[in-house]
Subunit: 450 residues, 2 copies
């Protein structure tokens, strides 16, 4: 019986088989000049912008990837690999460079979010894990920022661990939603590993086990007098709030943290709950809403004046329910100094090692310009930063709270028409004429050959 945990020892073979078989062919053919790969996303209908996240985990991977003897033994057992290549893997390290846009930056489609410059074999082998590590954090950070953008200062907490896609998704979702402006998570391990504030209330089972709301509320408040958010909808929400008030009064509590509504008409129920709390002197008690919450519901409820102070946002956040995957890719753009691209009617790959410059007007993003790395550009803020050089970390990694702070500031640089959660405005980067001309030259060459 095995769980199949992924860890730093075995993460190297959490990869598609073809990365390793191609690598063996490159190895035997002596094909190992410098390659440049871009990771980028393609436009999606229902997102005007994306928020970058997941970079720290990618850096961890690139700095620590190793093939253990045990994994090499497994590879040998498949009959697909020869001893010379297995010896190469035994000493494998990532020795290349990583250029990347910071976590917490706004990113747009067709821009290289991450660029790997390394000997071809290394750059190829890291492909699968790299995409796996970046996609979900970008999805969840973006989804979180959308909630943040309509929450008007109310508190957002990630409640999604149980519905996230496995253990690692729960960790990534907690971290990414924090970057996207959430106040914290219910995920205790994420609290420990990343230093994210942790939050919790109580479950229906807690009420049912006591069999009586008042008893249950009092039992909880006795142990957590400062921190009791009482779940009031197990039987009937209004009666539940009344029972909460009665229970707290009987205990002589002059204040308590608040109540949580997990079902029903949240506008109507939050208004009634507020009245009951206020009229009983619990003006400080907050109202938390949960149960199928997303950015659309938050906006709608606040627009209609619901006196809700905080939100437990779960499932739809952590699986990014209205966009459960990104159309993203990791594509070879240069090999041994030669710009390359795949020919495709719909999908664009831009050749060359690149830089992105972001231009602003009145503090708002005006456009991004993608250039070859060595082109001279006046003005504009370069977005790609060198994080790894020759396999070594060469940039400081900001703290998670710093990333979160920057993300919130960066959100303010979005043009207003892109901030709207219903916006379908897309902002495609400009491309320098050097790149454009190369694209045309390569297309001509390929078409000529065909």
């Amino acid at each position: 019986m095995r769980f199949g945990f992924v860890n730093e020892d075995n993460m190297s073979i959490l990869t598609d088989l073809y990365e390793l078989t191609m690598a063996q062919v490159y190895f035997k053919d002596g094909m190992n000049k410098t390659a440049i790969f871009d990771f980028y996303t393609r436009p999606v209908e229902n997102r005007s912008y994306l928020l970058n996240a997941g970079l720290e985990q990618l850096i961890y991977y690139l700095l620590n990837i190793r093939f253990t003897d045990e994994d090499i033994d497994y590879l040998r057992s498949t009959g697909k690999f020869d001893e010379d290549f297995l010896s190469y893997l035994k000493n494998f390290r990532f020795t290349g460079n990583l250029y990347a846009i910071d976590e917490g930056e706004i990113i747009f489609p067709n821009e290289p979010v991450v660029q790997v410059e390394a000997p071809l074999i290394e750059a190829q082998i890291v492909e699968t894990f790299l995409i796996n590590t970046l996609q979900l954090p970008i999805l969840v950070a973006t989804k979180a920022m959308r909630s943040y953008s309509v929450a008007r200062g109310t508190i957002l907490v990630d409640f999604g661990l149980r519905r996230s896609h496995g253990t690692d998704a729960g960790m990534k979702a907690a971290r990414a939603s924090y970057i996207g402006g959430f106040a914290g998570t219910s995920n205790v391990l994420a609290g420990k590993e990343y230093g994210i504030p942790i939050f919790g209330t109580m479950a229906h089972s807690f009420i049912l086990a006591y069999g009586d709301e008042k008893k249950a509320f009092q039992a909880f408040a006795k142990v957590y007098p400062e921190n009791a958010v009482l779940l009031v909808d197990t039987f009937d929400t209004v009666k539940g709030v009344e029972n909460a008030v009665k229970a707290m009064k009987e205990m002589g509590m002059e204040r308590f943290k608040g109540v949580r509504l997990d079902s029903g008409d949240l506008l109507k129920l939050s208004v009634e709950a507020r009245k009951i709390l206020d009229s009983n002197g619990y003006k400080d008690a907050i109202i938390i809403a949960s149960g199928g919450i997303n950015e659309y519901k938050i906006k709608d409820l606040l627009d209609r004046g619901a006196p809700i102070d905080g939100w437990g946002v779960g499932t739809e956040l952590v699986v990014s329910a209205d966009l459960p995957y990104l159309d993203c890719a990791y594509k070879l753009v240069e090999y041994d100094g030669r710009p390359v691209m795949k020919l495709s009617k719909k999908k664009v790959t831009l050749p060359y090692k690149k830089q992105i410059y972001r231009f602003y007007e009145d503090g708002k993003i005006k456009y991004d310009l993608i250039t070859a790395y060595d082109e001279e550009v006046k003005g504009g803020r370069p977005l790609l930063k060198k994080y790894i050089e020759n396999g070594e970390l060469v940039a400081d990694l900001p703290s998670l709270s710093k990333i979160r702070e920057k993300a919130i500031q960066n959100f303010e640089t979005l043009p207003d028409e892109m901030k709207d959660i219903n916006s379908t405005v897309h902002h495609l980067p400009h491309v320098s004429s050097k790149i454009k001309e190369t694209v045309e030259r390569i297309i001509k060459k390929i078409k000529g050959e065909i």
Copy 2:
């Protein structure tokens, strides 16, 4: 810098904070009689049936959950827990019972797929991880089975690792899709950990690095003469197939494994590819299709006669794109011998420790009957099996290939109208009169009290 890997040492705190705060209240109150919790799913529009998976990982968790000193130190640092409770956690073991439906069984909404019978604190603490561990495998096994059901014997391979939601999701998706009838996965670590057959072809970057299709094909076939599936759509698919044939002929190869089409009109291109392969004596060479494949496309292409022999199914499979989460729950149904339930207009929780009996007619499932555990029932196959008793494994765990075999057999027991991937037929279980009467009695009691 931390990745935040989850492992057997820290999995105990991969949980919602409220599980632990409620547990501390139970602990201080001496509330620790036997509780029974049901894990079940609720009906969803676009799935007539679900395929059960993920149980082995849950069992692993229940047998191995421990709180390490490091994690207890973290809990202490939060200021939310007292020493007496932290000491309790230090010696925490799961000492209860687990009843579960086998992996590879067809499951229906509202049925307890898993039932935990344990001291309340233990049954509560395991909630979050339990749901996290089961949901994705059920989603992906089901989605895989839907592809299997329309694939007419063509080969299905999981290509989704890069787009799965994090590392663990990639592992769970590989395992679950294998259970659902897939032939294997591209995920090398899943091959190692679970013994699943691994498959791979080549990437566009491989062609681009060589700069010439024929050269690239020959380089690959030289190293993998038996196993070269040549990717032919980098520039132009038809020319790509012709180049594949030329390349293999030049090498004097009388046969080669096949080609992969990753874009374009797969019907038209597969027909043309088949012609080129056949007319050049490569009748055994297979055609693999990939790129946005799902069960609807497989059915459509095979219905229209596409000569496709195998499928790389990626993104939509592993994120279960048309159903990225299950409406599933883990609910207290009995505490200290007292049947309990939450009152809700739409959602049903059935009280009692239970059994499910499946009735067949002419080899097809007729209906399931949910009863209290000790009710006498004539005929019917009991679905809930005791896997863990007093914290110890008491049932044999079948091999993954055995589970897969059973799943494929079980699919055949579905009524024909439910097998259709567009079916909206739902099969809700019957409920014994003992349970029904108890539900009514409890509702009356709660409403009376309100």
